[in-house]
């Protein structure tokens, strides 16, 4: 988890395009407060909520929230630990997305990552798909 100074003040999530940056947050919850959180806040919990269990009936909910929502949660009395700016990580990762078309519109076949024992290489080029057995 990084320092709170990483949390940038940003536009509200309903006002702009693109939406506000979201931060990874950890919220201390009980079963009751977990249900209340999901019910009362439009909280981004990823594809499904992930809770790290701690003591009996208590845990840490891992979620994502923009700065405005983090303030809202804190004002409501939730203990929120703010971590990385996940939107910023996403922006950095956008540099790891292919540019153009490495398969040239379907003229170049991809090569698989799995090992094929006894085989020199993978794809053998267009029109050559008869298996040699």
């Amino acid at each position: 988890m990084s320092d709170r100074s990483d949390v940038k003040e940003s536009i509200g999530r309903d006002d702009g395009d693109p939406p506000s940056d979201r931060f990874a947050i950890r919220i201390e919850v009980t079963r009751e407060s977990f249900n209340k959180l999901l019910r009362e806040y439009d909280l981004d919990v990823g594809d499904r909520p992930l809770v790290e269990p701690k003591a009996e009936g208590a845990g840490t909910l891992l979620a994502f929230a923009p700065a405005s929502q983090i303030k809202e949660l804190e004002a409501a009395g939730y203990r929120v630990e703010v971590g990385e700016n996940i939107s910023e990580i996403g922006r950095q990762r956008q540099a790891e997305v292919g540019e153009g078309d490495r398969f040239e519109g379907g003229r170049v076949a991809p090569l698989g990552l799995g090992m094929k024992p006894g085989q020199k290489r993978g794809g053998t080029g267009p029109g050559t798909d008869e298996p040699e057995r």
């Binding site: 999530r13 309903d14 702009g16 693109p18 939406p19 990874a24 079963r31 977990f34 249900n35 999901l38 019910r39 009362e40 439009d42 981004d44 990823g46 594809d47 499904r48 909520p49 992930l50 809770v51 790290e52 269990p53 891992l62 996940i86 939107s87 990580i89 996403g90 990762r93 956008q94 790891e96 997305v97 292919g98 153009g100 078309d101 490495r102 398969f103 519109g105 379907g106 003229r107 076949a109 991809p110 090569l111 698989g112 990552l113 799995g114 090992m115 094929k116 024992p117 006894g118 085989q119 794809g123 053998t124 080029g125 267009p126 029109g127 798909d129 008869e130 298996p131 040699e132 057995r133």
Partner: protein, 422 residues
Amino acid sequence: MTFLNVVEIESAVIALASTYPTLTQLITLPHKTVEGRTSHALRIGTSSCKLSGVLLVSGTHAREWGGPDILVNLATDLLEAYIGGSGLVYGGTSFSDIDVAKIVQNVDLIVFPDLNPDGRHYSQTVFAMWRKNRNPASSGGVASRIGVDLNRNYDFLWDFPTAFKPAAVTSGTLASTDPGSDLFHGTAPFSEPETKNVRWLFDNYSKLRRFVDLHSYSGTILHPWGDDENQTTTPSMNFKNPAWNGQRGVEGDAYAEFIDSSDLSALQSLADSTKAAIAGVRGQSYTVAQSFHLPGWGAPYPTSGASDDWAFSRHYGDPSKPLVLGYVIEFNKNWGQFFPTWVEMEKIILDVDAGLVRFCRNAVPTFYWFRWCWWKAWLWAIWKKVFPPELWGPYGPWSLIKRVLDRAIAPVIRLIKKAGGR
């Protein structure tokens, strides 16, 4: 290497179809996205005896980047290994050349890698955390209210305010009628072109018996039901029965969703086998769970309109449709990592593809069914040789021969009848 962009995913599928023309079929999905993109799926398989089909989809949620990369790699690996007559090795999990051949020859495997290209493109170029598709129809012109959560748009208890208990409706997990929510379920079941494409595949490829929708993250293999706890004793307590409307989605109350015990065993057994193959690669231990529950925490997480429930419910809703074992695999055990580095993603690809190869291997029909299929094919081939289609018509020569035979046999039959009458 880098993550595939949306153009590259389609190009990769097209390239595999043109590189392996006798092993594959390129499927152009009929419904274009709202931004005008055409999606493709790849059908892999050589047998005319297609007894068992598997549909694998990914890219439903835009920000869950690795899914399409996993499926493109899976298709590539299977085809390369089959052509080369080799097996496949993913870390500590391996498959023999016979395993690969059995899958390619006997399973009707359809891979649909990028269900939501508009969303993925937006996530990869503008706002990485985007989840939904990019349909602006319900947004009222507000950019952040664009899009539908495609995994709440399938026709399984889609009308959640009617089907579920008020406490579940307001739980914040089922779905949402608010376009500003990441769980907005659309204006009707299958309102979106992306989900219509999945339905179209089920409607047009009748042998599909197994289904996986890849998501991330958490390292779980989820199976139905997602609306409530499972129960195996009261068939009338089910999602179709309107008498139970307003009572679903809460743990520990009167309602639980009926599932046939043998279907539940089949779901769990296949999930366990997939989990073992994943773990074999580098020790990543995925959790198998019913999707209604949150593993490790115990709280319920009811959902409506989810893909695995819909696929599985088709048979329960209409017994004339085949049973499809439906799953969601949440790949990547690292919390918060929608966007792993590519180096990490390559490891995840190997994990999940090992699980999916095992999943497909388990779909290979048993010898009994093969034998029946071969017999049927063989008899049909002989029949067609003896009675080619051009002879069958009422004006063809076979019809003339039949009439001649009828005339020749008729006196004999009359004689037999006469003899019998005495």
